[in-house]
Symmetry: C2
Subunit: 593 residues, 2 copies
């Protein structure tokens, strides 16, 4: 630390790599390594602030002794991933010894969450630290600061001086020619889970611009209860803590929008009134899969209120509602970690939701959604071009804005069908025609936000690429990237992310996991209910409520809220018998010992 | 923990103390000890949730082994205070050994801040944990939850069934008959420091009610830069990072409100245009002392921008402004801790601002202002009835809304005068006629907010009173309290707070210090700049800016921003020669070895 501080004051004159007539910001070349901050000192000089990085030297290039130790203990991302998705026998031992699995889970929580700045340092409005970043919640945070405005190329000093036309990027890198099935055989129930879950915190404020948002920056269950107290009050029945419902085809559904005036919903084109429901998220009328999740959570909230009322006949509507909401947040996180993240990671290690493991650790119970996280989570390739509901095939254009299909088939059949259809692969050239405009928008906004190049995000996590053939094992995609961007350090963020080769035994490329893991773990574990003074029985109304949280699962969520004696198939993985042979990925799970 | 959890499930039938026809909430008697949470189970039963308290048993009455150890290490509040305000020789040794003073300072930071729930648990709208408490920033938080609505008395089960008329409380407990000078000889410069500093975060939203607020919940320097970005933009010159100024009598002052339309300011009655300045806080036109501080901070911001521009000729207005603001926040906290808190505490131990001490500790970098903190900080008895500016005596009615007096006398003379006049004592029967309405409002709002009784706040800190004569050493005040409230556990919060006997070598009663300490330390050290990734040279523009923060002091703040070669007296303590013999407190500092 002291060494770093002393060396910090030494000014370094940056070598003039480009002898242009107009000078440029010396920080454009990202000269500071290992997380050091580049501070200009006059027009042509800079210093690297290495404070807290564990490195020192003019460019933070020398490692301190303590940091060297830390690096020895912190495995390489690729090695760690390989360990976690192989050696099943080893993991079955670790999983069965609480002490071992708890220690490893604590390590995972901390390793992931420490990669996120908390409180946040940057927004898209400034490429340096400001108080705005902390205090102005209307911004998305930033993982890495923006590229300075006065650089020779849009990516800094590397890559082309003019980026390729976004339309060409979409046409040549993103457009689906043939549907690529998800190689881990993930189901549409998984795809819709992702979509419904993330929309509670990815809420870009398009009016203000791509760097702004209008949400609560986390897992605040606003997708169930509405974006603010006003909408929440509209959705509440004010009876026994419950949300408003209606009965259609002998099942409980959310009310029609016409019956709850004032609940904001987004419709496009002509949508029939019997497809217009009043939901917690204004976007959830768009896809029947989202409407299914909205319906199930509404039923779960009301079921939980009944459970609470049984032990608390003395409680009023308000207390039943508020405590029910706390339980729903708890269930959400439990299911996201133990069903959803478990599936996405495909680790043999059983990931667990145990907030108490962090109670004695240095951990911040606050969260801010980063713009890069939002872009990284644009998983539109997961969407197929048609949907098979109980044997009837609906092209996507006959599926969107058709919430009524869930009512028609019933939640049981609909859930079963989504569990039996395979999602698309999250990779290059797999955006269906309907979502290509989103990909275009993502590229354009990434430029407006001046995202640092794709490879800087890998450098930041200590595993940069040196050539295109490392990025992807598809030679055609590699050649296209090289043609479009010229330099491995000149590839823009989303283009690199989508082109990455799939990681061993996994749905995604490495950067999606290594960036998404930290943002996800941080967002989930930093919710207030996980903090030491919230996480106790009385917060959830006593043991009954606390146990609902601690035993929640995807299967129970659906099963307890779908009428009938028998449950449908409720699965994030399509069973082998439902996968057409053309969509089977034979060589995908190579460790099933 | 396990013992506590097992015993937790045992239901306890509360003894029916009041055999009334209508039953009442068993939690009204606060049966759970040591911070346990009382949860009703049906109409007449309850359980205590002892999770995390270190206690177990049906009423959390039994101490665990670990907690017993912790208690041994945590000194009694009165003992600790006595140690800190005596034994000067011992402290001079501790202060001079960095290792010792840093260890003790870390202990103080943690002891204080751990007493504050973070994230917050309660608001005034619910007497149980809700997600609203965490997510809805429009609420003040609560130190203790509200008294349940269905209790036999307003304070729970103790005290009178009807509280005394608030006007009578003011008349008999708060009204000043004779001016009582502050026994530690604190100056008006101190009184105005308190007032200007706290107004950045005590911002009750009177339209919504006393449980709501419109601020940023912390030391966000909004009193310098305005309540939001709109006001900030109005106050900025957009030249070299600076704030707008005007020259009057050869000194720089904030602009007139007429010259900056749109800056919200609160005026009462007829105020002449040359008293109407545009300031960061809409209330700061009310008192010339507040206008003085507003002027000094504005000058300091602009001075800092000049310093920054010297080392950063390449920076634009925006970066100079944003970095200047970060430095001003840092200076504020440094001065608050090392000048202001040092004075208030009167400790011989030198309190220091060293954010790095918390970087490896379990500490939350977030803050929420509690309603009790707001009430506790109503220090209106500090205001005298008249003001002596350079020998001219102004009755308070000729002083309020007269910012022009600062311009007339100049900042030098004005600062000098405030440093030489003694403030009032924060005690019973010392509210001047102008502030008695605030005391009335405080009592009325404390009831609307259903604050728990004064003695519960002492119980919560482990030093309850058992009788009125312990609360105050003034027998008349004790008799009045007993007459008004009947029971030591029936005294309302602010009435108890103001009546408390003064602590040894201190300005205040014990509860002000023991409650204010935690809220203050937490609020100051949890600002973003104190967090590990902010606290480094580059955040403040490099070593120049970082050093401004690390060497800031009250004296430098004024001295560097007041024209002329010689500085005025800048002091929180009135020099002996300026204290009239009638106002001298001979027996106040009893340890000057």
């Amino acid at each position: 630390m002291h060494v770093a501080m002393n060396i910090w004051v030494t000014l370094l004159i940056v070598p003039l790599l480009y002898q242009t007539a107009t000078s440029w910001n010396p920080c454009c070349s990202y000269p500071c390594q290992n997380g050091g901050f580049c501070l200009t000192m006059g027009l042509q000089e800079y210093v690297c602030d290495c404070t807290g990085t564990g490195y020192y030297g003019g460019q933070c290039e020398h490692v301190t002794f303590m940091q060297r130790l830390r690096r020895l203990l912190k495995p390489n991302p690729e090695t760690l991933h390989h360990l976690l998705v192989n050696y099943k026998w080893l993991w079955s031992i670790i999983n069965s010894v609480t002490f071992l699995s708890d220690s490893l889970m604590t390590f995972v929580y901390l390793l992931r969450s420490n990669a996120v700045d908390s409180p946040p340092l940057y927004t898209s409005a400034h490429e340096y630290i400001t108080l705005e970043a902390s205090y102005n919640l209307s911004y998305y945070a930033r993982g890495l600061p923006a590229v300075p405005t006065d650089c020779p190329t849009p990516m800094g000093i590397k890559g082309k001086r003019v980026l390729p036309d976004p339309k060409i990027v979409v046409e040549r890198l993103f457009k689906r020619t043939v549907f690529k099935p998800e190689p881990m055989h993930s189901s549409l129930l998984l795809a819709y889970f992702a979509q419904h879950f993330i929309h509670q915190f990815f809420k870009t404020d398009h009016q203000k611009g791509p760097g702004f948002q209008w949400g609560g920056h986390g897992v605040d269950v606003s997708h169930v209860y509405g974006k603010n107290k006003h909408v929440e009050n509209l959705l509440r029945s004010f009876q026994d803590g419950k949300l408003k419902t209606q009965v259609l085809n002998n099942e409980e559904y959310p009310p029609y929008q016409a019956d709850v005036p004032g609940v904001p919903m987004t419709w496009m084109g002509q949508v029939a009134d019997n497809n217009k429901f009043a939901l917690g998220h204004q976007f959830f009328g768009m896809m029947p899969g989202l409407f299914l999740y909205a319906t199930i959570w509404m039923r779960e909230h009301n079921r939980v209120c009944d459970e609470l009322r049984r032990v608390h006949p003395e409680w009023d509507d308000e207390r039943l509602f508020q405590t029910g909401k706390l339980i729903i947040q708890g269930e959400t996180i439990k299911i996201v970690i133990e069903d959803y993240v478990q599936h996405l990671s495909n680790y043999h290690f059983l990931v667990t939701f145990k907030p108490e493991l962090l109670h004695t650790e240095v951990f911040q119970y606050q969260n801010r959604i980063a713009a890069e996280f939002d872009h990284m989570y644009r998983w539109h390739p997961l969407m197929p071009d048609e949907f098979n509901i109980s044997g009837v095939v609906y092209p996507i254009m006959e599926f969107i804005f058709k919430s009524d299909l869930v009512v028609k088939y019933g939640t049981k059949v609909f859930t079963d069908s989504l569990s039996r259809q395979i999602a698309g692969q999250m990779t290059a050239r797999n955006h269906g025609f309907l979502t290509q405009s989103v990909a275009l928008d993502t590229i354009e906004n990434g430029r407006k936000l001046r995202f640092q190049p794709y490879n800087n995000y890998r450098k930041n996590l200590d595993f940069p690429h040196t050539k295109f053939s490392e990025l992807t094992d598809d030679p055609e995609v590699a050649a296209t990237l090289e043609e479009l961007y010229g330099d491995i350090d000149g590839v823009e963020f989303y283009a690199g992310l989508l082109s990455e080769k799939r990681r061993e035994n996994n749905m995604f490329g490495a950067l999606v996991i290594e960036m998404g893991g930290p943002f996800s773990v941080k967002g989930l574990m930093s919710t207030p209910i996980c903090s030491p003074r919230y996480w106790k029985p009385s917060t959830f109304g006593g043991d009954v409520g606390f146990n609902i949280v601690k035993t929640a699962s995807l299967e129970k969520l659906f099963c307890k809220n779908i009428p009938g004696d028998e449950c449908p198939l409720i699965s994030f993985v399509v069973p082998p018998e439902n996968i057409p042979s053309s969509e089977k990925c034979e060589n995908c799970k190579n460790d099933e010992l």
